[in-house]
């Protein structure tokens, strides 16, 4: 029988970031958890901790999660100084206690970036990503009749590369892992997806200029090619996308005919 080590448990100590509100002073709160099953997920472990906190009459710990299967991008914890913890290509909700050893002290913090202010405890406000998306992360297609889906053939390798980029879940681990808190990987994933596909050509230049401008406006840093983002990305989005982003930006910025029409949201190429 390939049963897992069902009865295996560990004892752990936790240092958890608590912060009442955006402008309040935060601090680490210490907890101890005994008999933690190693087959438990990291978030289930926090659920157990919270029951313990509530039963002691204190304010529960705030942390976010939703789908708990690695696709919604809601969960967002720095675990032992790593965005989404020590497992590569996984979100916090896909982290299991079997990744930790008996007696380990685990430090849990929120994403730390100027553009992602703390709302409370481990919850950060990542709406800056929405505003980058808003600045051009779409094709402009309206609801209505369109050409038959097979009218434009898209080579399989192109569709696959677009899908690789489109797999981004918008969790913000790239920003959290980057010493500059750059959102380049996030932005580049959307720019690349749409630059590769025929449907994205019409606003291609306007898109990249506006999205990069918005990224800067939000207070995200620049990319210095440190590759931390790629290492932290739960969907293994490649930094090749950032190279494409830079190329796209340069091409668009040099297109003088285009710059002139950048004024309003409805203007442009």
């Amino acid at each position: 029988m390939m049963s897992t080590s069902k009865s295996k448990t560990i004892h752990i100590r936790l240092r958890v970031w608590r912060q009442e509100s955006r402008d309040a002073q935060g601090f680490f709160e210490e907890h101890e958890l005994k008999n933690v099953l190693v087959d438990m997920s990291f978030l289930e472990m926090l659920d157990v901790l919270n029951e313990q906190i509530i039963k002691s009459g204190k304010r529960p710990l705030e942390y976010e999660s939703d789908c708990r299967e690695g696709i919604c991008g809601t969960c967002s914890l720095m675990v032992q100084g790593q965005a989404h913890g020590p497992i590569r290509g996984a979100t916090t909700c896909q982290l299991y206690m079997r990744s930790f050893v008996d007696g380990e002290t685990i430090t849990i913090e929120p994403w730390r970036a100027k553009a992602f202010p703390v709302v409370r405890d481990l919850v950060t406000d990542r709406r800056a990503f929405d505003r980058i998306q808003m600045a051009g992360g779409y094709t402009g297609a309206k609801t209505g009749p369109h050409a038959d889906a097979n009218a434009i053939l898209i080579p399989k390798d192109l569709a696959d590369r677009a899908m690789d980029a489109a797999a981004c879940i918008g969790c913000g681990a790239c920003v959290a892992a980057c010493p500059n808190a750059s959102a380049s990987l996030f932005t580049s994933a959307k720019v690349t997806q749409l630059a590769l596909l025929p449907q994205g050509q019409a606003d291609r230049k306007r898109r990249v200029i506006r999205m990069v401008d918005q990224m800067d406006k939000e207070g995200f840093g620049s990319c210095s090619n440190l590759q931390e983002c790629e290492a932290a990305c739960p969907k293994k989005i490649s930094i090749q996308n950032i190279a494409i982003l830079k190329q796209e930006y340069l091409k668009a910025a040099l297109a003088a005919d285009f710059r002139a029409g950048m004024g309003s949201a409805d203007g442009g190429a």
Binding site: I54, E62, R68, V119, T143, A159, D160, M163, A166
Partner: protein, 644 residues
């Protein structure tokens, strides 16, 4: 008093009903459109597509979601695909066949006209999504790829790896963000809807709570769309996301919107089995896996704890292939789930708990190679590996049914309007298109059909029809907003105040509710069990009212949000039990043990139950009233649903 339920089905032959509707609908002058505002609650496939499309028409749209971003709605987690009657593979598909498969798959408990429109819209959805840059899987020819799903003998499912929901949602989300950028949509993230505001008999606004600040807010509009998903979280353990809940549609129900077929729940056959009492969430393994995986259990009980690779073929029972030879492993979900329960009840289940069956890729890997299987299902196999710590390329997956989708929801007419004028419900939040069982890859289709291609017409028709009245704007200072807000505030204050004295946490009561609902309103339902469920839920309601332990304040407090949702889920659980009790037949996902054929299949009773049950709320602790909408089949002959 009985409520007249008029489905408002347009005249004419089935294939022309939707055209007839569009030809006769009221329009709104382009210059007048900006004078109307529409509230859309929820930003999943139905909500995001509706909000974007309505804004494109020129209405002012306010879009609400509980998350930080519209992109996190639970549609994002749909894995396998979306159906459409494109018939690209030339394998005999058509709008009629998709319609027929859906009606039959729903065990003849859905409205013909709605389902036909859904099948008609399906082809436009694929064109729409491709135009947004959705990277669907493609062949080397550059054409779109298709695969098969349960309950169909054609390949009509379009997909983007195992992340189809994600890609479709990001498509709809991007279109929504385009309209935000243009100033046509205003986003209200971090909001949960806590009431619908009715003025002079029409829905004119909502009350929300900002979950980060605790502020209670009023929002007025000329029509309200609820696209807030299903209520599978009543089972506590389900494949639904942690934040999925019934509150928005339940509060509308409390205000008078009838609730259709609450007992119709889809229990998905292929989920990772429950492993411990600490679990809060179950994980689905996409139905697409059944294209290549074979489902089996040992023939002999004594083999159940053995290493499966040592069990020879002659000792394996590929029970779906045995019982349903023409559909085999692609039998519909309700049937596959019941079959799994049956073999486990016989003592032939595998794994620690004995509550699991094998989903085996050995033969597919031998036939097509590991690389091909990895290409098709890599992310699902990885997910399985992460969760169970077992390698599904080497050993078969162990799976068991889990709650996945709810076919029931707010009763709506053909225009997706609830029984409250001006209040519409779309996607999983309504009851409309799937009857008593939904086919795989049809939820995405329905959500997008409702949002892109139905509501833009039907909301327009509503606004155009009531223009005179709606152009007299209602302000949030109206007394109806006062009273709705006061009720919401009082309820939150009461929970926080009572919560200081009690001993049982939200999770404890919630888990107990889930256990009752799963055991008694799950895969098999009996009169006795349902009566017990009613009594047990009543007891849990009392616990909630008198013994709830709640800490923290009224600002960001997930536990407080959860408490409010649990309050509604407790009432819903009782309604589900009542609905299941009254529906004495078996149909689709609703299996009454008293109503089965000699070989254990669901036995419908068309004479007495070919209708929608629509429930009217009568107040807390009061017995709700059951109303009926008779289902009229003019095009399809009701027959025994066979997949043999």
């Amino acid at each position: 008093m009985s409520i007249e339920l008029n489905p408002g089905i347009p005249e004419g032959p089935l294939s022309q009903k939707w055209d007839h509707y569009k030809a006769n609908m009221k329009l709104v002058n382009p210059a007048n459109k900006r004078k109307y505002s529409v509230i859309v609650v929820g930003t999943g496939l139905a909500g995001a597509s509706a909000a974007a499309s309505l804004a494109e028409l020129g209405y002012q749209v306010k879009s609400f979601c509980t998350h930080d971003s519209a992109r996190r709605a639970h549609s994002i987690a749909a894995q396998g695909g979306i159906n459409a009657a494109k018939s690209y593979p030339n394998d005999g598909d058509s709008v009629w066949r998709l319609f027929y498969d859906t009606i039959k798959g729903g065990d003849y408990r859905a409205r013909e006209a709605n389902v036909y429109r859904l099948a008609q819209n399906s082809t436009s959805i694929i064109d729409q999504c491709v135009s947004q840059g959705v990277p669907f899987a493609r062949e080397y020819s550059g054409e779109l790829a298709n695969r098969s799903f349960g309950g169909a003998q054609v390949s009509r499912t379009f997909y983007a790896r195992g992340q189809t929901g994600q890609q479709l949602l990001l498509g709809a989300y991007s279109q929504l963000m385009k309209e935000v950028d243009k100033g046509k949509v205003t986003l209200f993230p971090y909001r949960e809807m806590l009431d619908v505001v009715m003025v002079d008999g029409k829905a004119r606004g909502i009350i929300t709570r900002n979950v980060t600040t605790g502020e209670i807010e009023r929002h007025a509009a000329d029509a309200v769309v609820l696209a807030t998903g299903g209520y599978g979280r009543v089972y506590f353990l389900s494949t639904n996301a942690m934040n999925s809940n019934v509150t928005a549609i339940w509060r509308a129900h409390r205000r008078g919107a009838l609730f259709g077929n609450p007992c119709y729940v889809q229990i998905h056959p292929t989920c990772i089995p429950v492993s411990g009492s600490y679990q809060a969430k179950l994980t689905l393994m996409s139905e697409s896996l059944r294209n290549d995986g074979r489902v089996w259990v040992p023939k002999k009980k004594e083999d159940c704890k053995k290493d499966p690779s040592t069990i020879p073929d002659e000792d394996r029972d590929y029970y779906l292939e045995r019982k349903y030879p023409s559909f085999g492993n692609l039998a519909p979900r309700d049937i596959a789930s019941r079959a799994a329960k049956e073999v486990c009840d016989e003592g032939r289940g595998v794994g620690e708990s004995g509550l699991a069956v094998y989903l085996d890729f050995r033969d597919a890997i031998k036939r097509d190679s590991e690389a091909v299987i990895r290409e098709r299902y890599g992310n699902l196999f990885d997910m399985y590996h992460e969760i169970t710590n077992e390698n599904p390329y080497r050993a078969p997956m162990r799976i068991y049914p889990a709650v996945h989708y709810t076919m029931g929801g707010l009763w709506v007419d053909y225009s997706l309007q609830t029984t409250l004028p001006g209040l519409f419900a779309a996607g999983e939040a309504n009851f409309s298109d799937h009857g008593a069982n939904r086919l795989g890859a049809s939820a995405l289709m329905q959500g997008l059909s409702d949002g892109y291609f139905v509501l833009p017409y039907t909301v327009t028709n509503y606004l155009g029809t009531h223009a005179q009245e709606l152009l007299k704007k209602v302000d949030v200072s109206h007394a109806a907003f006062d009273s709705a807000e006061n009720e919401v505030r009082a309820e939150i204050d009461r929970m926080l105040e009572n919560g200081k004295k009690g001993k049982r946490t939200v999770t404890e009561i919630y888990r107990d509710l889930g256990k009752v609902v799963w055991e008694k309103i799950g895969m098999a339902r009996s009169e006795q069990g349902l009566k017990e469920a009613l009594a047990e839920i009543e007891k849990l309601q009392k616990d909630f009212d008198t013994d709830l332990l709640l800490t923290g304040d009224s600002k960001l407090n997930k536990n407080l949000e959860m408490a409010g949702r649990l309050r509604d889920l407790l009432e819903l659980g009782a309604l589900m039990a009542r609905d299941a009790l009254e529906r004495k037949e078996s149909c689709g996902g609703h299996f009454r043990v008293e109503s089965q054929t000699p070989d254990g299949e669901a036995q419908r009773d068309d004479e007495n139950f070919a209708h929608v049950a629509a429930w009217e709320y009568k107040g807390k602790g009061q017995v709700p009233a059951r109303h009926q909408e008779k289902l009229v089949y003019e095009n399809v002959k009701l027959s025994v649903r066979s997949y043999k």
